[in-house]
Point group: C2
Chain length 225, copies 2
């Protein structure tokens, strides 16, 4: 049993390493856009392989834990949450790569169009990333809930910048390529935010045993033997 | 033990229902675009709630199976694959909703820009959806591999239509809104294709016990007791 507790702890440690790699990828991809930092973009592209590799390690580790031990209740929920959070983190890493690629393409020519609300959206998304990962580390249900409530602010900012960029393109056809890149960056940021809400939902499931997806709060029942 | 076999079978049945709902959502969202079929778009929006609900049911059912029984090897792999495929299917449903919303917005005015390669891409993506779901139903590793090999064709078509739409916008600013909708539809189709490759990878994991993600073929080891 002591062995199992140590292994669960190892799983958490691996997932924390994944969290920190992905959080850094998101931050660097945002710097690549807002500060035209090509080195940051290259960093993100270089670290993708490591994120992909650790995703597989975590999956295998978690599945082996399920196979070797017969975890119940809290431990089972932790392992299931780790599997789900792992998938979300890997996808956030992919989205950071998409952003870094757009940033590289944008950095090749002088900006015609200012950044609209991108630094603002990016700041909000970074804070959701941080809070969702902290809520996992601290097993903090309140913090997880605060991530869920930020999601509509991101959607509103996304819509506003989308309309602004479309009308910019209509008046300035020479900036169309840049505007399309900016729209894609905003959409990728919004998708990162969506993954932080998935993580927050998994944390609530893990901590409270409630499934809060799709805005219904279904109580997760303990299985009856 | 007979009880457990029946429950595993029930899990597969629920997942098949989910497959069929999502496949139909993808098909209807494509008809909404290519045939300007507003009823099809409305169908997709109406069925989203059912897909979200069954996703939660499958998750709970699978987690209860893990909690109640101590599945090993093949059974454990089936349940883990079901959890992962379930997540992918729900996201494919979301992407079909995005496509249906764009289709509704496009259907409000006469098309300025023809559909570029969208019917072609859509046909390819639909065939990947079908093959990935069939590979799950039939436990067919070869069929699953054929899904993985279609992915680069979708990426190439996506890139070609993307460049075509950008240069259309540069010459025809009055069509910018439509072109942006079409770019989004192509991107959503491509993301549906990505999820079919995730499903194919899960099928290979389930059938063969190999992890083929990120193009490395790591053998999934049976845990040592």
């Amino acid at each position: 049993m002591r062995h199992f507790v140590e292994e669960l702890d190892q799983l958490s440690q691996k997932l924390l390493e994944m969290c920190s790699l992905v959080e850094s990828a998101v931050q660097r991809s945002i710097s690549a856009v807002t500060e035209k930092d090509r080195f940051a973009a290259e960093d993100v592209l270089r670290n993708e392989a490591r994120i992909n590799q650790i995703e597989i390690e975590i999956d295998e580790f978690a599945i082996n834990l399920l196979a070797l031990h017969q975890p119940m209740a809290t431990d089972l929920r932790l392992i299931i949450a780790a599997l789900k959070i792992n998938t979300d983190l890997e996808r956030m890493g992919d989205l950071a790569v998409n952003i870094a690629q757009r940033a590289k393409s944008l950095s090749e020519e002088p900006m015609i169009k200012p950044m609209v609300d991108i630094p603002h959206i990016a700041g909000l998304v970074q804070s959701m990333v941080r809070k969702s990962l902290d809520s996992f580390v601290l097993r903090d249900a309140e913090l997880a809930r605060s991530v869920l409530s930020s999601d509509s602010a991101v959607d509103n900012l996304r819509n506003a910048s989308y309309h602004e960029l479309i009308s910019f393109m209509e008046h300035e056809p020479s900036g169309i390529r840049q505007a399309v890149d900016l729209i894609a960056i905003v959409r990728n940021l919004e998708r990162i935010a969506d993954h932080t809400t998935n993580i927050a939902e998994d944390v609530l499931f893990m901590v409270k045993g409630v499934d809060v997806r799709h805005h219904g709060e279904t109580r997760w029942e303990q299985p009856e033997q």
